[in-house]
Each structure stands twice: as structure tokens, then as C-alpha cells.
């Protein structure tokens, strides 16, 4: 079985918006999006239990190779990075077009996604990629089992757990509650650099420049506005006097 794991290289630490381009500043250090390691872990467990080829697929700046090395050190077999200046500024529809094209080349049986990127925070990409690939999709997977040509997923939703079956090939977005990701071993880290990593440009994917980056995007950031002012916060620093002060506060607001 072949499993593709979509992983994102996200800015490390405090994320900022470039006031000029109104895009996320990706010039600084980055790291593997934390919850994408849950998707990778799930793939590695399937590999451990039933043999699977695990390929990482990512769209990002050249520096994203760093996050892919992290994934390879954890146990993925290969990595594919789509990196092209023409892809910068891609929104959800443009990103999904590029990733779908990269996935199409791999034709995996199962595509896994993390729960959310820390910078984009849409938790949406899988829905767009599934529509492009015309494959079944299940998101928010708290449990995942691969059976005979199909997956069974327990999806966590607002109203409870839904058990959903889908025939392979399929796409699954995992919840960060699905597993506890492993740490890379020293051996894993040493071996990572020797594993294959392909870096692809738009041309390699057959995607034209008008379909990528801002040109291929349907949304735009118009401006940055100051956050709305909140009412003022009353602070109580003296823990001993706090209980009585809280009661007084609640009474003052007619809550008690």
C-alpha cells in the first residue's frame, strides 16, 4: 500500500504578516506543522503493521526541505516538495490544485492530512483536494483502520462519533487526538538525508502560472485592521483576598 502524507512547513515561533505583500512572512525559521506529525504517525503505524510506502508531499518555500527531513527522520520513505516562486501567495483553491497535481503523480491508496496548519488554520485543504481528485473524504478522524480495500474512520463531530467507511483510494484528515507521535531516533536522523527527495516546479506538474500563486487564487487579503478594543480587564493579584473579591465582582454584575 502507498500512503501519502500532506505536511506543511510553517513559520516557527511568532508568525507575522508582511505588511507590504499582506502574506505570511516565510523568510524566517520554520518547522513541521505540529499536528501533521499525527498524520505521519498514523501512516507509520500502518507501515509498521502491514507494510506501506510512505511519501511526504508538501507545497512550500525551498526551506521546507527542513521539515521534510524531519518527516523522513521519523520514518517516511520519500518526500516530494512542490516549490516554485510562481506558487507563492496561493490560496486554498490554488494550493489544492498544486497538491492534487503532485498527489496525482504518486497515485497513493491513502492520503492523510493533519488537523490544521498553524499559520493558515483553515482545516479545509483536504475537502478541496478530495474534490479535485474526485475521491472519497473523511475528516476529523479519531480512529483509522485499513481493511480490505477500504478504510473505516471514526469521525469526531459536534454531535458525537460517526463511523464512516470509504473505499480506497481515499483521503483522511486526522484529528490530533488520534495518536501520540513518536520521536525521531538518532539512526533515523542520520538516515534521513539519504532518502529520496524530489523538488518539483509548476512545469513538472503541468500547472500553468495563471493557475497558481495569486493569479490562481480566488481570495485576497485587503488590509490589516487594528483588533477591536475589548472592555478593560480587572486584575486580582492577591490570591488570599481573591475569593471575596470575585464574589463582589459577580454581585456587581448581577451574576450572583
Amino acid at each position: 500500500m502507498k500512503i501519502a502524507v500532506c505536511v506543511k512547513h510553517v513559520p516557527d515561533g511568532r508568525v507575522r504578516l508582511d505588511p507590504g505583500t499582506k502574506r505570511i512572512d516565510r523568510s524566517g525559521d520554520g518547522a513541521l506543522n505540529r499536528v501533521d506529525s499525527n498524520a505521519l504517525e498514523e501512516a507509520l503505524r500502518l507501515k509498521d503493521s502491514s507494510q506501506a510506502d510512505v511519501v511526504l508531499v508538501s507545497l512550500g518555500p525551498p526551506g521546507a526541505t527542513e521539515s521534510l527531513l524531519t518527516g523522513l527522520a521519523l520514518g517516511a520513505d520519500r518526500a516530494v516538495l512542490v516549490s516554485d516562486p510562481l506558487a507563492e501567495g496561493s490560496d486554498l483553491v490554488a494550493t489544492s490544485r498544486l497538491l492534487a497535481a503532485a498527489l496525482e503523480r504518486e497515485s497513493p491508496d491513502l492520503v492523510l492530512f493533519g488537523q490544521q496548519s498553524s499559520d493558515g488554520a483553515g482545516g479545509l485543504l483536504w475537502g478541496a483536494v478530495a474534490e479535485r481528485l474526485r475521491r472519497p473524504l473523511v475528516s476529523q478522524a479519531a480512529e483509522l483502520a485499513v481493511g480490505d480495500g477500504s478504510v473505516r474512520v471514526t469521525r469526531q463531530s459536534e454531535s458525537g462519533d460517526d463511523v464512516i467507511d470509504a473505499p480506497l483510494p481515499a483521503l483522511v484528515g486526522v484529528s490530533d487526538s488520534i495518536n501520540e507521535p513518536r520521536y525521531a531516533s538518532l539512526r533515523g536522523r542520520m538516515g534521513a538525508k539519504k532518502k529520496p527527495m524530489d523538488v518539483l516546479a509548476l512545469g513538472d506538474l503541468g500547472v500553468s502560472p495563471e493557475e497558481a500563486g495569486e493569479a490562481g487564487s480566488r481570495t485576497v487579503v485587503l488590509g490589516i485592521v487594528p483588533p477591536a478594543a475589548r472592555g478593560s480587564t480587572v486584575r486580582l493579584e492577591d490570591a488570599e483576598a481573591a475569593p471575596a473579591a470575585i464574589v463582589e465582582f459577580l454581585v456587581g454584575r448581577d451574576l450572583l
Binding site: 473524504l137 487526538s177 481570495t219 485587503l222 485592521v225 493579584e237
Partner: protein, 325 residues
Amino acid sequence: MKAVVFLEHRGGELARGALGVLSKAATLGEPVAAAIVGGPDVKALVPQAGRYGASSVYVVESGDVADPLPQPRVDALAAIVAAGGFDTVLLANSVLAGDVAAGLAVRLDGGVNWDLVDLSVRDGQLVGVRPALGDSIVVEVGWRSGPQIALFRAGSFEPVPVEGPEPEVHEVAVATEPHSVLARLVEQRLQQQSAGPSIEDADVVVAGGMGLGAAENFSLAEALADALGGVVGATRAAVYAGWYPYSAQVGQTGKTVAPKLYVALGISGAVQHKVGMQNAKTIVAVNSDPNAPIFEFSDLAVVGDVHAVVPELIELVRQRRQGAS
């Protein structure tokens, strides 16, 4: 703008968040339509949509869309958009609605802006407001071309009932795409509804986080909730630790609450928790870290150890209540 609002429903009720979006859309100056998609009998929800401002309701009623799965809903909404000639689709975020919005954007070659907390029309253009980067900034977003899809942060708008004529009903037939019906729901384990008010309807929510230190310390949250006449909520971290059931989880992947009073005990205030409770009228937080992010959006910030503050607080609240009655 010709907008349609996707009205999700659960357990025979239209979702509050979706009705809030409908109410908001109705204030933007043009008649607004609603889309209801589901199995047999879903038409029964039409009057409710009318009460919250829909002037027309597009209904797809079919066995193919009976289960709460996103892909057949992309087919249904695409059919509704075509039937009504809509250029804008508005959705309240949920596990289901997010997947629908993303799929629909690709299907219609439109754009999707998500996590919006407000929407307006400026110079004839739709403008969305979105807190971003862990709510550290707020950006205004727009659409370049194609159908405009807007996904709103849970709980952004209150549903407001309005007087008006019965909405016009349009039934739309849908032909599902082959890939849309491959995923199948085999079982639904609905959450147990505990007795008393549900966490979404309670006036007071006392929520506990990792700062409570252990599962048994949730008894502090329970006792305080009891004294204040409220119910208990929890962070995802506490739920994962097995300290409290998932049904009590507040936040992006749990419940959205807007009580009169929200008391946060040992909760850091991560943005994923914040989105589920920021619309509480009054927020009181107890946290031992003076720099805890939750203090940035609390009305009363109590710097202290929950074990030092809460037991006495419970006592004082009880005394006060007894004295008052």
C-alpha cells in the same frame, strides 16, 4: 450580491450557528435565501428558516443526502447555486460545513474565506473580517472572482427572529457525482445528553483545564458550577487526559457557548479554546501564570492557584446564595 445560507441541522433542529449567519445575512440589505439539505422530512425545517430571515428556501430532500456527509452536500449546494443563480454562499463553520465549503469552492471554481467573524458590503464588494495568526491580528479579506464562499467562526452571530411572510420554497433535484457517494456512514454514536441544561444553553459554565492538575480535581469545577447554578465545561487537553467527557469540551472542535458567565479554572486560553467561549458576556479566569493568554480576553483576571482560590470561593458563593434565599 445574491446570497444563500447553508443551514445545517442536527437532531431535527436547524443549527444555532447557521441561523445566526442567516440573521446576519438578512441585515446586508438584500433578500437572502437559505439552503436546507437532508433526507425525507427535512422540508419541515422550512418555517424555522423563515423565522430567522430567509425570504426563500431551497430544499434538497433525498436519501442520498440523508446522512451528515460532506461530499453529497457539495453536489446539493452546487445544484442549488445553479438553480437560484447565487453568487455567494455563506456557512457557519462545523466539521461538516468546513468540508462542504472547501469542496464547493473547487466545484464552483470560487474562493473561500474562512474563520470570518463579520461581513459587510463596501462599494458593492463583499468584505469579510477575520482574526488571524492566533488572533494576534485582524485582516479584511475579499474575493477576486467566481462565487464567493464565506465560512464563519462558530458563534459569531446571534439568531434574531423576525416577522415576515412565509418563505418561498424551491425544491431542487440533485444528481450525485460518483465520487461523492463512496464514503458511507455506518454508525452514529450520538453523545449522551446529561440531565439539566445542555452546556450550550446554560447561563453559567465553569470550565476546567490542565491547571486543575488531576481528574479528581474536576470536583472543584463541579462544586463551583453547582453553587453558581451552572454546568461544567472542559478544555480539549483535559478531555484528552481523560479528566472529563468530550461532550463537555468547549472550543473549535467542541461546543460553542455564550453564557452570561464563563469561569475558566486553570485554562491557558489557546485560540482553539477561545473561539468556543469568547462570546460569553462575562469571563472570569483563575490562572497561576500572570501572563496566561486567557487574561487578555477576561473581564476578571485572578492570578492565583486554583486550589488556593476555588474552595473558599465555593464556600462564599454558597453562603451568599443561602443568605439571599
